[in-house]
Symmetry: C2
Subunit: 216 residues, 2 copies
């Protein structure tokens, strides 16, 4: 039985509660299926939203930036509960009435006070996990990371706990009175795939091709 | 010559300024190319990030929710400069060193105090523009919107002015010393398309197929 996310005054879904879930495994699967998240933070009361890449290890959600970047340094210097959303748009839901139009989606919203990872070896271990997500097997083929690079990079994490999932994955739902309205109704699914790889033009030699992630 | 976005203390790109642009037409094209954005707001000092759909008319950025939804009602009841980001992940940038890995992307960050659209006819006009973006030509085929639906829906907008664009669309850039490191380096592009449409199973009749948007 999958553990449950923590439902609090922040993470309790109010609109569309029928779309909500607090299943931790479901949250994990959505987090792992996406390469991009949006980090919300405040500075002197002003909200900022920054798109960034992320990865997960167990109950922890990780991201990175330059050690001085605001979305990493800010919540460490002035601790606050950041809000992070991970969303995947899965399809268009075309109903018979305008108001019942919607989208199919998977979405996780997380709250947590970021923790800085400042142990050198742990940072390198996390870099490898991130690389493994982005291109499995690639880490060992790369020019080894050096101290200056480790130092220049800030890695932070929050616990995946105070969070909520919302998702929609079904045909349109119209008012019954409209069910016979004569217009095509249904779902237009969004398909994503990794396209033909484009080798760096300055490379002339052939190397084994990189693996693509099963995240998008 | 395209107009320029307003570069302020909020919207001035600090990290990776070589990726920054303040070209308004470029911002418009990215906003129009995406169906999803992330709205950042605060309530009693706590930051919230909500994914939502959006549309544009001229210099204005629109979104909607239930009239009581926090991401619409909140910044109207307690005016604040919300922060909205629109991002499209375009590809993986696989370098020879771990640190120079990156992604190709298009991204717009906007700041503005939301304005409520409460004129009934204007709301309906905006619903049509939104429908036109999501499925061109569909509005006139739908069951006409009624007063109760108009009333239930909150439509807000911000001006596209205090904003910044960041984008990356090129091969990896490694330190010159690493250029001959023997590993495949380049870009894995992300391909998006609308898949085979899935008619609502409760419909038995055939209707002309909906048009898909050229946004994702
Ligand atoms: C899909 C995607 C994935 C990314 N992954 C990573 C990652 O893994 N690590 C990483 O460090 N960065 C990533 N970025 C870039 C990230 O969004 C920030 O630009 C970068 O982290 C610098 O953040 P900062 O908080 O220091 O921004 P600052 O430079 O301090 O921000 C100052 C101002 O610059 C503007 N700005 C900053 N970022 C953006 C943006 N993305 N789009 C438009 N305007 C912007 C805003 O107006 C902002 O208020 C990614 C971006 C995208 C779109
Ligand atoms: C791709 C996409 C497009 C969307 N487009 C629209 C749109 O056009 N209009 C619209 O009204 N809504 C849209 N939504 C849903 C939107 O994200 C909100 O759930 C909804 O607007 C209610 O917002 P609220 O501020 O009232 O949330 P509330 O219900 O007040 O939020 C309370 C708590 O519920 C949880 N929660 C809310 N939204 C989400 C979420 N998306 N994922 C996980 N947890 C959540 C959070 O913990 C939040 O703190 C979209 C969602 C996705 C993923
Ligand atoms: C054009 C295409 C449209 C799309 C893609 C769209 C999308 C959405 C989505 C995803 C939600 C949130 C549902 C959830 O929480 O899971 C929503 C809510 C809502 N939309 Fe739209 N919408 C569209 C058009 C409209 C129009 C034209 C109206 C008004 C006539 C409208 C009125 C509403 C209302 C009232 C809600 C709140 C439902 C609730 O929280 O109880 N939408 N919309
Ligand atoms: C695993 C794949 C990785 C991806 C997809 C990735 C992605 C990114 C992106 C998109 C940026 C922002 C660039 C911009 O502003 O346009 C960035 C910045 C940065 N990344 Fe990564 N990264 C990865 C791995 C790493 C690793 C392993 C390290 C450290 C060894 C690292 C260190 C940095 C640093 C230091 C910056 C800041 C650059 C600057 O703002 O000057 N990255 N990364």
């Amino acid at each position: 039985m999958s553990q449950s996310l923590e439902e609090t005054s922040l993470s309790k879904v109010k609109r569309g509660p029928n779309r909500a879930s607090y299943d931790k495994d479901l949250a994990f699967s959505i987090i792992d299926a996406a390469l991009m998240c949006h980090v919300g933070q405040t500075k002197q009361g002003q909200v900022f939203v920054t798109p960034t890449s992320h990865w997960r290890e167990g109950d922890y959600f990780y991201w990175h930036a330059h050690s001085k970047a605001r979305n990493v340094k800010g919540p460490i210097d002035e601790p606050e509960k950041v809000c992070i959303n991970v969303s995947l748009l899965d399809g268009l839901v075309l109903a018979r009435s305008a108001m019942h139009h919607s989208v199919n989606y998977r979405s996780v919203t997380l709250f947590g006070v970021p923790e800085l990872i400042d142990d050198k070896d742990e940072k390198v271990r996390q870099f490898k996990l991130f690389l493994d997500k982005v291109s499995p097997g690639r880490w060992d083929t790369l020019r080894p990371v050096n101290d200056q690079e480790i130092k220049a990079t800030g890695v932070v994490r929050i616990k995946i706990d105070e969070a909520s999932v919302k998702f929609r994955a079904e045909p349109p739902i119209d008012d019954p009175a409209d069910n016979n309205w004569p217009v095509w109704a249904g779902v237009v699914p969004l398909k994503r795939e990794w396209g033909t790889i484009e080798q760096d033009p300055i490379q002339t030699a052939h190397y084994s091709e990189p693996k693509a992630p099963d995240a998008f």
